[in-house]
Amino acid sequence: MSIQAEPQSPSDVIRPLEEAHGPQSGAVKFTMLLGGVVFALMMVFGLIMRAAQGAWIEIEPEIFYQLLTAHGAGMVGTAAVSGAAIMWYFLGRHVPLSQGIYWAFLGLFLLGVVLILGAIFLGGYGAAWTFLFPLPAISGGAWDVGAAAAFILGYVSIGVGFLLYYLEVGRRVSAAYGGLARALGWRIIMTGDVTGAPPPTVVAAAAVTIFNSIGIVLGAAVLVVSLVNLFVPEFEVDALLAKNLIYFFGHVFINASIYMAVCAVYEIIPEYTGTKWKTTRVFAIAWNAVLLFVMAVYWHHLLQDVVMPPWMLVVGQLVSYFSGIPLLAVTAFSLCIYIRGSGMKWDLASSLLVLSVFGWSLGSIPATIDGMIMVNKVMHNTQWVPGHFHMYLLLGEVAMAFGFMAWLVRGREPTEMGVFDLAALWAYVAGAVGFVLVFLISGAASIPRRWAVHLEEWWLQDRIGTVFGGLVILGTLLFVIRYVTGLLRAAEDA
């Protein structure tokens, strides 16, 4: 098995033209098209919810909670599939990957989407994307067990697809780099010798493969238990154990989407700066810390479950804080160093990718503060929570995805941004910043999250949030239109 040579000089880091039309690119481009369209659709669902909370429009609560469920599951799923597509694309530079596995992964994902959409919009299922046990089975008459079962089976289908994906990634990386431990950079950590170090994308792939596989397997366990409970109510699982499993799975899964998508930063930014993103000892230590932190931090979701052993809640708070160090002191700091004095050009792709690391970093600040038990007591499940996760998703993972899409349809060289690109970028950035700030301010005003009907005194924030949300959708639509026209132009040229 051969390992593709890494670029060694600024001229080498310019991507070969044929790569954009390589064997994996069609599937990845299709995935990103799907991702862009679904992101936009889910944002429209979000906009409807914010407008309904602000009493600008009127929708029945059951419809609101169905939209809430679709929005949550759809956004998490799309973030994950777009992150997976990005990592697959760039990992293909370093190890050979089976296209058949990718199509199987995507097929199972789409099957899951069909089941989930059917469960929600045909079956009336609306227990949120977190399916907190035993809510799927106890709906108060809003949906029947068939709808809940379809939703759970949809998740199972997506999970099986992702496991296939990680099996392929894991075995290829392991074979090429002499085991996952070496791919994680353990040799570099032990010896400090970076000769023959695995590229950053390979280190990321090894870490994500390990923690997300574990997360999905534990998620599958609680999904199966929930499924059995639907049809055999006497078969019960401890609600606290189920909650632990669900939050472990959910936390790891959504974090994996960002950690996969960051490969776009590692691989594309060097084209602009002329300096390869290197695997150093600090980089390897950071990724190994991430591997542990991502799995150990999920207890910060359970800080108000006071029956939990106190030491777990303390670990949740501590790891929540220390998780910020690899992000801020390694990823964000390195990006600042790489771009400084590089003379890089700002086109849509580079702008969005740099923005994504900054947005991700900024979003970690209110998240970390909410991870303190004393703060969580008054912020948990207020709109502070969607405030911080929308920040590191909208301005983080989603920006990475759109940056990657802009790069996919870019010509060989970066070009100056035109009016269209500038309008799209600033509409998106201004909208997203305003949107998340309104959420954070609303959280500080104690407005609870996930309420279909708001008190009149909360309407002003809801309406301002709706306006900013509209701006985000405008920017997103412009990104998607630009991507589609770029694909069509490339097809014509071909």
Binding site: Q317, L318, I325, F333, I339, G341
Partner: protein, 172 residues
């Protein structure tokens, strides 16, 4: 506490944004010098030190401390789709009140709001467990109980109320 949390968050986010903006503006300036790694190391140690200090300060007094047995009063609260069952209508002012919170069906979240609709504290209400939380009310008046954990189609209707009074009548 909420205004402080918001203020600290905005200041830290603003400071980080300024640093990032300066890096973006420095693209056409001189490249980072040899001191970059030293600065990174300083940043890591500074963040670590701040983390240790903040953790010790915020955990030295356990945030979930429960009033000792025999001290104050006990209030039993049970959540169900979609109601709160509270075994008293009035609780005393200036005395620790320990809420024993459970659930009849699915997960709920008991959030206690003051008359200005400011969240004072919360805990989860879950099937099979009793979560305990203690609080000493310092202002008389009516307090709202809102559901903080999504529990189904009438989640937003799960609102109840109790009164904090200087002296609870003996019949309570």
């Amino acid at each position: 506490m909420q205004p402080i949390v918001l203020g600290v968050s905005l200041v830290l986010m603003g400071a980080a944004a300024v640093l990032f903006w300066r890096a973006v503006r420095a693209v056409d300036g001189p490249p980072a010098g040899d001191g970059a790694n030293r600065r990174r190391t300083q940043l890591i140690w500074t963040m670590t030190l701040v983390g240790v200090l903040v953790s010790v300060a915020s955990l030295r007094e356990w945030p979930h401390a429960i009033a000792s047995e025999g001290e104050g009063v006990i209030v039993n609260v049970s959540g169900g789709q979609w109601y709160w069952d509270i075994d008293v209508e009035q609780v005393p002012l200036g005395t620790p009140v320990t809420f024993l919170v459970s659930s009849e069906d699915v997960n709920h979240g008991m959030g206690i709001y003051d008359e200005n609709m400011r969240l004072l504290f919360q805990t989860q209400s879950m099937p099979g467990y009793v979560n305990k939380v203690s609080y000493t009310f310092e202002e008389p008046g009516y307090y709202q109980v809102l559901c903080m954990e999504f529990c189904g189609v009438a989640h937003h209707d799960m609102i109840s109320e109790f009164e904090v009074v200087e002296q609870v009548p003996a019949t309570e």
